[in-house]
Symmetry: D3
Subunit: 66 residues, 6 copies
Amino acid sequence: MPTIMVEGPPIKEIERKRQLVKKLTDVAVEIYGIKHITVLIRENAPENVGVEGQLIIDRHKQSSNR
Amino acid sequence: MPTIMVEGPPIKEIERKRQLVKKLTDVAVEIYGIKHITVLIRENAPENVGVEGQLIIDRHKQSSNR
Amino acid sequence: MPTIMVEGPPIKEIERKRQLVKKLTDVAVEIYGIKHITVLIRENAPENVGVEGQLIIDRHKQSSNR
Amino acid sequence: MPTIMVEGPPIKEIERKRQLVKKLTDVAVEIYGIKHITVLIRENAPENVGVEGQLIIDRHKQSSNR
Amino acid sequence: MPTIMVEGPPIKEIERKRQLVKKLTDVAVEIYGIKHITVLIRENAPENVGVEGQLIIDRHKQSSNR
Amino acid sequence: MPTIMVEGPPIKEIERKRQLVKKLTDVAVEIYGIKHITVLIRENAPENVGVEGQLIIDRHKQSSNR
């Protein structure tokens, strides 16, 4: 029953998603002792995430300007 | 006020979405006795969902190989 | 795999929770054609929910004053 | 640490997203007294949202028919 | 329809919750141009939140030891 | 920025929560290459979770009757 929702940036390589699901599930199985774990990967576009009041897309622009 | 979020696979036919919203709302109205129900349908790509440590996209490949 | 999260007010009677889970699941099974449905009921205290800018707890007070 | 998730309709102009993140963050910083706030904007297609049992996409059609 | 979910630490004073809901709603009304906004305040116990791999409850202990 | 929300049954021992947060964070740091990870543990009472149409609390009763 446990469900893990991961809010993060987009992941291009499917192998990385495979690893993310595999490893998060292993942790949950170990801690909860329950085998049926669901993982939902949410890919948030950098224009839809704000950190400390600023869109990620704007923070990256600033960084690359430096 | 009650809000229902449904995490599931993509739904192609809009009529099925219509039915999903209609019927989930009917249940919530009946149980809560509140008319204003919001339903959010989330369509998760099979490469973004893991069940028992494996991406849905990989589980389907295995099934079709059998 | 589909997971339904229901954000609503507290539900006192367990039988109502039983009905909520049973009926939401029936809808999801019918629409998705998938048997393994998880439902999470979230009970939100009236002081933790705001509608149109006002806490539910304050709205109720106003109503009962009328 | 506080995280704000906003479920709403799609927002076309990035400047509006910028304002949304900036202003929600200002509120959270003021109330919680914590500087590190994350905001996630979720854009829900009108065919994936139901209000009072009806898809937004159908409600809009009705309105424009009037 | 827009719904704002705020994940933060517990808030003791109801007046602060009142302000949080009022101000977040004002922002959402301004940006979306929609009046019907719902806000859900979620209060997370410091033993249920981890930042950079450490429970908040442990981080606070460390701080007070200094 | 990545945030991991874990919906599971209650966890009594704080050391298990500590391990859950530590290990989920390690996985996320490895896959995303981002250090600032937040984990929210949600503890769902067995009367608030339904699996295949049945409350967990009822499933457990049935099991212990066998």
